[in-house]
Symmetry: C2
Subunit: 331 residues, 2 copies
DNA sequence: ATGAAAGCGCTAACAT
DNA sequence: ATGTTAGCGCTTTCAT
């Protein structure tokens, strides 16, 4: 790979001038500019992003970190797609850090990202009291949180109206006539899990339905937990007639168990999932679900981050996107 | 962030000595080592991976590029997980480049990766004649291909026995008694699409079944193409009694159409998919599928890449993993 | 309008 | 065993 020096030599100018035309800064004589452009072309010169990053400490490195809890969850894949599109359009590139709900791994990745001199970070922190992410924000790195905020910390957040969405979904179930609606929640440490649970509780109460605490079980947000909890619920002497599942993976786990028992959805048990998937119509019956605009969450987060990199002083924004109840046939 | 210089000053030594203890190279007096370690701790010093990368041109940068055609395809997500695990264990970090089957985007990303001075690349090239990836290999960057090779080029590849797997799958369908088995293929430019088609053809012929060319349709490997082609097939005057779908996304698209028409699987039409998903049991009925060991493909590729980075002279390996027919209830 | 030179944080000769 | 020094490829004053 040719370096700026070689370009400068070939064009018979100094590297400073080359740098100037590259950053189309200030006034450069049209003639010399042409000479330089020619040399660049001939040498197939491409600037080293590494050197650039080393030199200019802020925002010019075109490198973003993305920290997500679980790449196997389709929700985060879609978020990632949104981020990636914005990043790509702005000549940024992404270091992907999937910490698989493992806080040790999260800590490692965060250290590495710092030492990679990223220009900004999009993160779904392990929980809202995540000291590691908080420290990074305090250190002045531009950060945008997705799906979860940071308690007591002013930071950009893009998320969805979890409580209201859950409330609306459960209300829908109630109106459909379901009485014993169980909720399989995600990790209680995750704020969105708690909000969805709260929405569930509120809806039940507001509609005068009895709140059977045995019907509320929180797992660890995984497929396996979806299976386990569903088993448990279905084994009850008085099992639920409907399931409100707390995320994508839980929903899928629940479906596996229900299918395994040859139960009919929604006749024997109805299912309404939080989180939609692009292929929810491929399920049989098609899944009724709360659709978070995952791609858009990622896109917005990317935009906010790039804004913040350019203008670190801009006041923080909490952007709440609306989710949508996709009524299909499982409830 | 503290720099090596500050550490050196605090410990009262030169930066060279600091560098030595960091790379636990050569002999350093135990006493000074302690002093330095102490200073490092006190300053919370972390080496800059950027500076390191700029300086030492080969393999020390701990940065890997991953180039994949479609992050929305669960197969690639699992591959990515495998790569990521190996990378993480070896202190490498990943720049994720999803080119969404768009060759312009692929080209852009490849350029950027070069200028990021990555130590190695794992790629699923757009096709086997991909000049851009070929050039990178020729330039001497360590590269491992997954899922697809590079025609006329000696390069490490990790893939699956596509032809045999398809052959086996279709034979299974035939033995089950299906006669009019349709194949919805992926992009003909992708080698694995062609191999799976060939496996299909061979199986049909070897079992003395008529090869109705109307039953063989190649799309673009997407969910949408899965839907379109399935529509077309089901609208035939003499529709197929079984579907052999060419990848994950196609399968899901096909299922949506089949469900939409209230057709029973496998009674009205059987489905066998190439590519399994972690949640295939959540489908109703559970999907019979050819399971590629996607995670392991990623893991192996990661291992091969790190080996090659350490030893660029090692002869190339074509590693063919076995896929497995998961017989469930859709066929 | 252009060049010279310092320096980002580190590695790797080369000295001592 | 440790220090000095010359870069890696670039940006950015400060001169001219």
């Amino acid at each position: 790979m040719a370096s700026m020096n070689e370009v400068a030599k070939r064009a018979g100018v100094s590297i400073a001038t080359v740098s100037r035309v590259l950053n189309n800064s200030e006034s450069v004589n049209e003639e010399t500019r042409m000479k330089i452009l020619k040399a660049i072309k001939e040498l197939k010169y491409q600037p080293s992003r590494v050197a650039k990053r080393l030199r200019s400490k802020s925002g010019a490195g075109n490198l973003l970190g993305v920290l997500i809890p679980d790449i196997q969850n389709p929700f985060y894949v879609d978020v990632l797609r949104g981020i990636e599109d914005v990043a790509y359009q702005n000549n940024y590139v992404i270091i992907m850090c999937n910490f698989s709900q493992d806080e040790k791994k999260e800590a490692m990745y965060l250290e590495i990202l710092e030492s990679e001199a990223i220009d900004g970070l999009i993160a779904a922190p392990a929980h809202e009291d995540d000291q590691r992410v908080k420290k990074i924000v305090r250190n002045g790195l531009p950060v945008v949180c997705v799906d979860r905020g940071l308690k007591g910390m002013d930071v950009d957040v893009v998320w969805v109206n979890n409580l209201e969405s859950a409330y609306q979904a459960v209300s829908f179930m109630i109106e459909k006539g379901y009485k014993r609606i169980a909720h399989i929640g995600g990790l209680p440490t995750i704020p969105s899990s708690r909000l969805r649970l709260e929405g569930y509780r509120n809806a039940m109460q507001d509609h005068g339905l009895e709140l059977d605490e045995n019907l509320i079980i929180q797992g660890d947000s995984s497929y396996a937990s979806g299976m386990q909890v569903t088993e448990k619920l279905l084994n009850m002497k008085n099992p639920p007639d409907a399931l409100f599942t707390g995320n994508n993976l839980i929903t899928l786990g629940a479906l596996e168990v229900i299918n395994g028992r040859k139960l009919q959805i929604p006749k024997d048990i109805a299912v309404l999932g939080f989180d939609d998937m692009n292929w929810s119509n491929a399920l049989n019956p098609p899944l009724t679900a709360v659709r978070q605009p995952a791609y858009e969450i990622g896109k917005r987060a990317g935009e906010l981050l790039i804004q913040r990199i350019k203008d670190p002083k801009r006041p923080c924004i909490h952007m709440t996107l609306n989710s949508e109840l996709k009524v299909r046939h499982s409830c």
